[in-house]
């Protein structure tokens, strides 16, 4: 009798799991209102942004606000799309959480140093390129490692961030190196400092941001991949994407875009502004 009861309990559990599974797969039939309609009626766009990435999106502890190139872009785009009174709301995301948050409609769009890749294009739609980054390496000054080839040895460890393209790229360009993936850039950099790996890898813009605050470390080897950043939208939000694309094109034409790029990257030593503004 006891055994029967246990078996029944287990069956119930499995049933619950599978029914959860079913509602996970069902495509939001109830919430079919488009993002564009919702944003127009509330006059607000909710952006998913990074808050741990210097130059792109970094929490300013004193004012409690996030500042960076991505933030200024989002604000400018909001003004172009919704008019002068348009309001931009920011939600912190990480490389790991941004797609799930977009899919469950907590955010309307992602502008968070997100590379356009074929794999991601199957899941989300991207705007045009708004920043042409490339992956690079950061090491402690005086390190033996000069470029990605130096990492392709047994026993070297490279640090990356979960959910980013950089980990996948390292496995391609330096298959012998071991890759450790951490939660965010702050933790990955801490791990580099405490010697958990020889190099930290991600996009050059982010690395320059970290290096500018930590003079004992520098960016080496130039870029070895092309990482074009795009703004991501959920599938089926074509109207919203067209509006944002038009806004970016206009910003490139009227000089707002160049001004923002100059504001954030103009003073970064070794940074190629021309390369970054490629379309």
């Amino acid at each position: 009798m006891k055994r029967l009861k246990n078996l029944l309990l287990l069956l119930c559990l499995i049933l619950v799991v599978f029914s959860l599974n079913a509602c996970g797969n069902k495509k939001d039939s109830a919430q079919n209102q488009s993002v564009w309609q919702k944003d127009k009626s509330t006059n607000t766009i909710t952006w998913g942004v990074k808050a741990d990435t210097r130059l792109f999106g970094l929490m300013d502890v004193k004012s409690g606000q996030i500042r960076g190139f991505d933030i200024d872009m989002a604000k400018a785009i909001t003004k172009k799309v919704l008019g002068k009174s348009g309001h931009a709301k920011f939600v912190q995301v990480t490389s790991k959480t941004r797609i799930p948050l977009l899919k469950n409609k907590n955010i309307d769009a992602i502008i968070a140093t997100m590379t356009i890749t074929p794999d991601r294009e199957k899941i989300v739609d991207f705007s045009q390129i708004y920043f042409a980054a490339g992956q690079s390496l950061m090491v402690k000054k005086g390190s033996q490692i000069k470029n990605i080839k130096d990492l392709n040895k047994d026993g070297t460890t490279v640090l990356a961030v979960k959910g980013s393209t950089s980990a996948v790229n390292v496995k391609k360009y330096a298959p012998k190196a071991k890759v450790l993936e951490l939660e965010d850039y702050a933790q990955a950099f801490t791990a580099l400092k405490s010697g958990q790996g020889e190099a930290l890898t991600t996009d050059n813009g982010i690395l320059f941001g970290i290096a500018s605050e930590n003079p004992a470390y520098h960016v080496v080897g130039g870029t070895f991949t092309k990482e074009p950043y795009g703004i991501a939208f959920d599938k089926g939000q074509g109207k919203m994407r067209n509006k944002v694309n038009a806004a970016i094109t206009e910003m490139r034409r009227d000089g707002t875009y160049q001004k923002l790029l100059q504001k954030w990257f103009g003073n970064v030593a070794g940074f190629d502004l021309k390369e970054a503004s490629q379309q």
Binding site: V17, L20, N21, G24, S95, K96, I99, P100, K103, D119, R120, I123, K162, G163, V168, L180, E181, L182, E183, Q187, T190, A191, K193, S194, G195, Q196
Partner: protein
């Protein structure tokens, strides 16, 4: 969900193995360390008493994540180079041992004082009395709460994911971020945790019955 197991079985298996290994190591050492500090608290020595108290209060009242990050980021910088798995396992062991010490101490206190007096009157030393008379009775009292601690410990081992310890949660994060199938991946990870915790839970219950 089944496709997650089919396509990423290898990674999940590695994660499962590491979680299990970390849990077994932490269980063994936290039981030893925890019991030691529990005895410290029972010994009639003010010095040992204070050491036990400080150890328990420090490790019981700092979040596990902080302890884990300390061993991962700070210890290698200044003391000795250890990897994420080791750092996480040490953190988990120390954290859990503080709770086990509190649990075992409660068990020792629940044993009637007359037992110790009787044992001492019959010529046993304090440590002999502890080992043969008090502890066997104390452990019998604390099996149910001890079981809770062990189950919590297995779940807490997910702290390894934050220090790149290649455990179940780390692999789950990895699979979720490459396949974007967050939902099914975390369900699969949850089921694998159940595979460890449910038998543990039933075993503790069995022990409890056997003791009665």
């Amino acid at each position: 969900m089944i496709s997650v197991f089919q396509q990423h079985g290898q990674e999940l298996l590695v994660g499962f193995g590491n979680t299990l290994l970390c849990s077994v190591i932490a269980l063994f050492f936290s039981l030893i360390i925890g019991s030691t500090f529990a005895i410290f608290e029972a010994v009639p020595s003010r010095f040992l008493h204070i050491i036990g108290r400080v150890y328990i209060e420090v490790f019981r009242n700092i979040p596990l994540l902080v302890i884990g990050m300390f061993f991962y980021a700070v210890v290698p910088q200044y003391i000795v180079s250890i990897d994420g798995f080791t750092a996480g396992t040490i953190g988990l062991t120390l954290y859990t041992s503080a709770f086990i010490a509190e649990t075992v101490r409660a068990g020792i206190q629940a044993v009637d004082e007359g037992q110790m007096e009787g044992a001492r009157a019959n010529g046993l030393t304090f440590m002999q009395a502890m080992r043969h008379i008090i502890l066997p009775q104390a452990f019998r009292y604390v099996i149910p709460p001890l079981g809770n601690q062990f189950i919590n410990m297995v779940k807490n081992s997910s702290v390894l994911a934050f220090v790149a310890g290649f455990d179940l949660m780390y692999q789950g994060d990895m699979i979720a971020s490459t396949t974007f199938d967050t939902f099914n991946t975390y369900i699969a990870v949850g089921i694998l945790y159940l595979v460890i915790t449910l038998p543990l839970s039933y075993y503790m219950r069995y022990l409890e019955k056997k003791m009665d």
